[in-house]
Amino acid sequence: MSDQQRPTPDQIMAEFERMRSEAEATLQRYEQVSAELGADAVEVVSEDGLLSVRLDANGKVDAIVINEGAMRHRQSIGPATVALIRRARDLYALKTAEMARRLVGDKIDVDAVLAQYLPKDGQGPGRTPR
């Protein structure tokens, strides 16, 4: 590479500045969309209002709340909680996908990716990933 082709320190600094601005704008956009969709606080409540599950910002179970009234339904608390966690995770996946759609939707077919993993009519994943 000749000296003429080599970028000057000013050009390098300008490129760094452009990359920094882009990264800041992306982060700002991420925070804006995240707050708008409430993706940092996913919470689902059972239809009877006796159980609730909250996920943290990473989609992991953060809290399971069992109302005293639920203690009467001994046999169903376990399976109902598993089902509620599944619903919470599906909701989290949808919110995360919506965020991805808004942030990088022009570059990646988010819906196609999501279709491989989200349950279809409650019967497990839509299709098996290849």
Partner: protein
């Protein structure tokens, strides 16, 4: 070599589907079986679970769920690490 990597990746996918970890609360009231990535599969409550308040049972169940999912993630990471280590070791041998 690439065929081998593909087969190892398929194996990693199989491991992800098959990995399961169990966590049981100290008093044995709550047993949780989970897969990696927060996939909770079974929550089993024993009779002594119903001697607790709803609040206490929620706390204990949460802790058991976290323990089981964390363990499943750890086991999967370890299994994938071993699988990939085999691939890279074979590649190194081929080069020598």
């Amino acid at each position: 070599m690439y065929g081998d990597i593909h087969s190892k990746l398929a194996e990693a996918q199989r491991l992800a589907a098959e990995t399961e970890a169990e966590a049981v609360s100290e008093d044995g009231a709550v047993r949780v079986v989970a897969g990696p990535g927060g996939d909770v599969r079974i929550i089993d409550l024993r009779m002594n679970a119903f001697e607790l308040s709803g609040f206490e049972l929620g706390e204990i169940t949460t802790a058991a769920v976290k323990a089981a999912t964390d363990e499943a993630d750890r086991e999967l990471s370890e299994a994938i690490r071993r699988t990939l280590a085999d691939v890279f070791a074979a590649e190194r041998e081929e080069r020598q």
